[in-house]
């Protein structure tokens, strides 16, 4: 079965090691701006969340240069750097803000699941990132979306004083 990258955002402490591991795996460089996973910290809210590509594929059809395809082995999005012009359409259509542009090459950065062995999952000290069989991973997605509706974290916040 295909595997899926999911997150358990309640466990994320916002250390951003996943970003460094991502840029290191792909470029042998340490640079969050070259990462395909992005940790959002809102310091004044209880938010530390890894934003990652859910491999929905909206960008595939949107790309005007046919630079984006799906790897059938891993189910991951692949960007062909020879075709990518850095036009930004994939970023534009990505509903999650998961896609970005490499500041050095000017090409799109989209998660390729590290060919089925995501480095971010390996390095996460909190097990906030998981790479699971798709049917197991679906439960985490359901939990995430049900939490969105419960808003339980924001209820803890008192008024600003």
């Amino acid at each position: 079965m295909l595997k899926t990258l999911v997150t358990n955002p309640n466990k994320c402490t916002g250390c951003r090691l996943c970003e460094l591991a991502c840029s290191y795996r792909h470029f042998r460089l340490m640079n969050p701006a070259k990462s395909r996973i992005h940790v959002v910290r809102l310091a004044h809210e209880p938010v530390d969340t890894p934003i990652y590509c859910i491999q929905c594929g909206l960008c595939i059809n949107a790309c005007p240069f046919n630079a984006i395809s799906r790897d059938l082995k891993t189910g991951a999005i692949k960007v062909d750097p020879n075709k990518c012009t850095g036009c930004g359409v994939c970023i534009h259509v990505c509903p999650y803000g998961a896609a970005s542009i490499d500041p050095d090459s000017g090409k799109a950065l989209i998660c390729d699941l590290c060919d089925g062995d995501p480095e971010c999952v390996r390095i996460c000290p909190e097990n906030a990132l998981l790479y699971l069989d798709a049917d197991k991973a679906a439960w985490y997605k359901r939990i995430t979306f049900s939490r969105l509706q419960r808003k339980e974290l924001t209820a803890l916040m008192p008024d600003e004083r």
Binding site: T13, A33, H44, E160
Partner: protein, 637 residues
Amino acid sequence: MGDEKLYGYAGKILRINLSKGKIVKEDTRIELLKLYLGGTGYAARILWDELEKGIDPLSPQNKLIASTGPLTGTLTPSSGSVEFCFKSPLTGIFGQARAGGRFGPKLKFAGYDFLVVEGAAEKPVYINIYNDDVEIRNASHIWGKTVHETCKILLEEVGDLDASIACIGPGGERLIRFASIMVDYDRAAGRCGGGAVMGSKKLKAIVVNGDRSIEAARPDEFYEAAKEALEVVGRKRMDLGRLGTIGGLTRLNESGALSAKNFQTCYYEYAENLSGEELARKYLIKRRACFSCPIGCGRYVAVPSGPYATPPHEGAEYETTDMLGVQPLLRELEPVIRAGYLCNTYGIDTISAGNVIAFAIEAFERGLISEEDTGGLKLRWGDPEACLKLLEMIIERRKIGDLLAEGVRRAAEKIGRGAEDFACHGKGLEIPAHDTRGTSKNLAIQYAIGNPRGACHIEPLWSPLWDFSRAELGLRELGLPWPPPESRFVEVGVRRGEACRILWLFGELASILGVCRFALQGEENSIMTPRRLSALVSALTGWDLDPKDLLLIADRVYTLKRCFNVREGISRRDDRLPKRMMEPLASGPTKGQRVENLDAMLDEVYEALGWDKETGKPKKEKLRELGLEDVAEVIWR
């Protein structure tokens, strides 16, 4: 020399003169890096070279350096450091203060190892940095705002929600001598009054972001070393991560090492009420980590309602809880959380604030200050309302608060009539939440020597690791005397000098390399030992530095900082403990403990450090060994 490619470093220094409005980018000097590596080492050399002796720390002549080390911003665990260096307005000697968060890493990603701020602006300004784009901007609209307000406004104003901010609150603007520099809302470079230095320069904030890379010389080797270090340091998640630094509070109490009641005792019967468990049960929203940290000791907490309602923030760590809770004998966490939050958002150091509050309560009790001084406020032990009101008075510099805002040394001098006897500071730095008598004799020596920044428990290192916790830290092979004495209270003849020296030099590496000290403190299988640091630094920079090389560099830095202080007039006479530390503890398991033979202990340490026993200056031959001949010429002139 100029052609050598730098690995691990950003390679540039950003120098901003606020008097002239001038922005200069210079190369980080390789020949200096090889001697000092970076962080507070390189910064100490800049301050030694560029500051005139005897300048007023609050004048434009002072410089403020935000420094990073080679490991900062890398895959090394807990490398989210920024170390601010300056001449301290609180102590008049070398000032340094570290913050976690991600300011340090962001500075490197913007392309700079160091930011040096010189001069002073006429009107409030902030500095905005994104890679090569550096601007000095008007900050009139945020002058007077709290730290939390400032962060919120500036992130929106620069339009980059991922930028990092170092700023001051009203505390720094009002030149409170223990004002902190706050990073990313709640991470504090708290000690030594760096916030007042920023305030004197009319510098409200520094905003930084960038998209540059850090590259390792030997990438695969570096990654292996980093992953091993992450796994090892990550083991601290089970204790330090689970309950935060406050988790140790009750354990310290059981050992008779929990400082209370302005250091009259080391035992508090209501410690359980202020424990890490209590915090986790009632007020913890989530754990938070600094950049690249697998420990995650940060506590994101709030008090949702009631008289002490407090918005969510990172706070209630151990030092804050002891100094603002145990010291004044408060019996519940809520006012302590509230007080810590006020310190953060108004930008003052929680340790110094707690120290001066406890001092004031005792002074009031002894009739040395009166209701006239306090504006009618009755100061009593265990009174949360009074503590919070007094804290507000300090923040606003109102009545007695104006005097306390000068720090405990100046306040005691002004009050006189014996107030100095219970003003607990070392070289003007308020003693933190650890008492020399209840903890260990290593700490007594460390507070007395106070190099570089005055009495501090963790700079350069929590040295009771040896005689209190009996941890080896991978230092035995480098000469750490073993075993430590059976009792932590034995004073002389147990090789404390050698032990302290090596522990301090090891700790110095944290601020030089740009990592959190917690990643260096603990059992050997849970820390970055000298060997692990050596593997990381060597693979990162490509310079092969074995543990001995690292300690030699640390020695050079540690000694240079002492020389900076010697140049400012520090000598053996100043290597003292406050009178209180020579008196017996009043209660608890360590009742009766006191420091008896400080001079003999100091002799042992001077000997080990290569310092002259009469003057306390590093000896000429010691300085020559370290390649500091030019420094020797100045201090032995």
